[in-house]
Symmetry: D3
Subunit: 219 residues, 6 copies
């Protein structure tokens, strides 16, 4: 999905939970994610896109690096803001739903959010595409009919395979976070603009106790 | 500033006030602007970017056409949202400042806006680049120091020529609305997504009285 | 409905769409409306009431003139604020509903609004009084029962003919925008107070291109 | 200040604190005020205006009677809402300021309020008109210059005598709560509309212990 | 329910309505309540808990005394804030519901409140424990299922007897205002911290007209 | 500071950064903190207090355990809510300030927060007590005078040693987060109430890659 004048690389974390569906998952993935982010910046990438709609540890990432970093969830919501008055997010589990609701409150975007709904299917079970798409369609329909959503945002980058059927079936625009993340990351790179160091002050360097944590080489 | 795989055209309105700095200007430009927007869609463009940071008549434009339409001001604010907690807009006149403040309220983004400040220089006088840039720097400095802005958004597309000096002088990111408008328009076109018809219902067709207004051929 | 010591005049626009139900309608009516407003001030009226609950171009009107100007929709909402905690607006079409929702957001009154509902009947079809009143009663009932409205505001000045039956049928107060507009306009005139020039700076005078637009003689 | 077709009566409370400047004052005046309100309704008045900008016990008053009741403070704020984006209230003491701030929060109008400022002069000392007006002008000036007020609302009905000098000296509109209360009360009476019984349910009748409280004859 | 190192006393008001269910009740109880509060401070208590979930006259109480004063309703809501994202209050009557909704708005906690629901049973009829508990369970269930409540707050201290069955029947935490009031009062006493005199300025001393009101000896 | 009928234990993390001042610190401490929290629950404690005013990973902690868990920062803010209309937090560094501002937004308590200010002294340098207390007093004074704070909340549990001088010097109440954390933890334990499982769904169990992360034994 990259534009013709961009090249990129997908980096899968080698450590941490196999999916991110809860705040505990986010806590456990924090160290490995920060390490990879720091490596990517050192390797000269122009921008980073975290391919997760739950937007893990965005402040820590931005404290750590200077190149622009965007997460799939916030990118998708950002795009949704220009498509209609109110969006709904359809995500996997209740635990994920609560994380996304908190992200939206933290971004002061509650007034634009019609609802966050969960389909009750874990990330790794989205492979059953028909079942997943049926469930997404059901919740998206309720979001539009009952909650007043003008736009649907998918709340898991594992849902991208459902996009074709969702677009064909829904009367409102649907935003794929995986694609939105790339679009916003590219836009920031093209504009040669990055996050505000004033907002994200560099973390003070300090002693890190413990062999594993200090071996991450983060701060 | 277009990406290599995109081509575009700049269309200047042949009727209306020579600059847009007030709600009266916005009211007067409405007819000619809607006519050009409708023509552009008919000519097959993939997306439209209104090159004005005061974001004139966004709802009317989206009622009228099916291709994605973005305005420079809302595009710049959208980009600013992912760069820091709070942005300030630096615009030309108090009359423009009030319009932009209203746009931000209407978009329920007040919680993200540190301030909107005016330099007191009309659009057509921005040609005096040194004076304009000095004035923008002064207000941007106050926005950062006094109002708590993390990001500066230029509130007039006529301010783009000041970008180089602003970037060199300010410690926070600066967003150029002219460039942001193109980036967001391209992103929407690439994602093949447009504004929600549910949010922007098509205007009912009806009799238009008056030779000029009916000659616009809008509805 | 004027008080005994007031006289007034109803001025119908000779140009523009025959009803105002969308943002496109509002855009098209802007020029003719501003011209009449300016004429009315020149003729010595003490106050102006725009007889439309969608509140077209309020900022442009107030930039242009010094006498107090009120629009029927905002007047009705203003009255509703002192009658209960939350009001609902019942208007004609979804396109109008969206405009009114935006007006309420722009006025930072979202916290007081239970809902805006549309009856799905165009302005010119309100002539079928029984059908119109039945539809208003149905939506007003839902607003009270489901949305928690304490007060009903009619969202179209063409609905005034339904007032008698609505009042007799509903247990909550109903506000007629046509009457509220006159009441607030009179109040402002009696108080010899007008809108804040600081909030509504005069539009800068400038060249207007195009024979029709410059013939309006607005700025 | 009544319109020519209205007559009214000013009723002074015979019991309670000699001025209302604190929540304790409001608590002490509650019984006598409710008694007079009930008497006034029984005597056939069309509307009641509580001549106090601190708006004492508005819910209790509306629970008790069926005719419209408005208080000077909320009436003045209501009028201010149609004159500019943001208003400031200038009141007597810090204790009164806190009451008014609470009233504004309770009415969900915080987004429209630039500030509430106190002149530090008790109600009964407003008789020193020059000193009072000087102090009001000073705080109103700060409200306009520093807080961003578009409109000034006087926060004490005892300040009406300063109106002429305030209007002559300030560039923004000034709203007198005593006059606003009458204007809104008249408007409600003319519109034959009263507060929502759904919002203000009648207080359940019950035993009142204590000779004085039961003698008030309120519930 | 007091901690082992605390002793306390329950003081019943000898004057006023026999239950507090409306703003009129609150107005009538104001004088006797303030008198007892002042007496309690004079007797050397370390803190005061007003045993009512409608939180009568909190500002007047805090203006009057220096020791910490907490009311059962606000204490319960305070505890609820750390147990989940959104709470619902289940109270007795619609008149009480409206008071509590106003308290929540005044405390700027609307964003945390899922709903306030009334069981339609007056305080003195809560003695029919089975009926009361059934009704509370029904509304609490709706609050959790329909309104999205994470935590239930009882909105009347007379509902404490239902706590055992409520806890056994509901899957979300339930907060008893009577107990919460004691917990918060004790916490404030242990921390040797009281309400801000800056926020609650002492009420100015002044003449009180009327034999009863002046005999209360409040200000 | 524990009540006489409570016993407790202070557990220092053996791994992680030596102080928590940034989102990176929070990310690095997440694993060790979750491990200790889980151990503490297994050991039979009635409640957990995280002794840090930056409130690290509150959702992850509550997903993981059933006993009540409170963090010092949110406990202090909770206590501050009942002491005045608006509080200010005085914390160590700008990086910490941004975390606390985000926590307040996430808790929808922005309307109660006057400001968050940083003294510019790292946690480990608070040992210089005079310098630290002077700096806290300076920022607290500005919070009260300029920002309108009614209550001061210390934004670092390392600031407790300054409490005596702060209380003696400031005219507004000061809340120590270390003490507030214990008070609220005890209160929850006494009330036998814990966080809502509905709000904090248990994290789904899953494969954790990496020797260190899986050795934590968290999920």
């Amino acid at each position: 999905m990259l534009s013709p004048d961009f090249t990129g690389e997908v980096i899968c974390l080698r450590e941490g939970p196999v999916s991110l569906e809860s705040a505990c998952d986010e806590a456990l993935v924090a160290g490995p994610l920060l390490r990879e982010v720091k490596v990517a910046e050192a390797e000269g990438y122009d921008a980073i896109c975290i391919d997760c709609a739950a937007d893990p540890i965005p402040r820590a990432i931005r404290e750590l690096i200077h190149i622009p970093a965007i997460s799939a969830g916030e990118a998708a919501i950002t795009i949704a803001l220009v498509l209609g008055d109110r969006f709904s997010v359809i995500t996997v589990l209740d635990s994920t739903r609560r994380i996304i609701e908190g992200n939206i409150r933290k971004c002061s975007l509650t007034g634009r959010c019609a609802s966050v709904r969960a389909v009750g299917i874990p990330v790794l079970a989205l492979d059953d595409l028909d079942r997943a798409t049926d469930a997404i369609l059901k919740e998206a329909g309720s979001a539009v009919e009952k909650d007043g959503a003008d736009v649907i945002v998918l709340g898991c980058t594992g849902m991208s395979s459902s996009m074709n059927r969702l677009r064909a079936s829904l009367d409102v625009p649907v935003v794929d976070p995986a694609e939105a993340g790339i679009r916003v990351a590219e836009s920031l790179a093209r504009m040669r603009v990055s996050h505000s160091r004033k907002c994200y002050p560099a973390t003070p360097s300090k002693e890190i106790k413990g062999a594993y944590l200090s071996s991450l080489g983060i701060i």
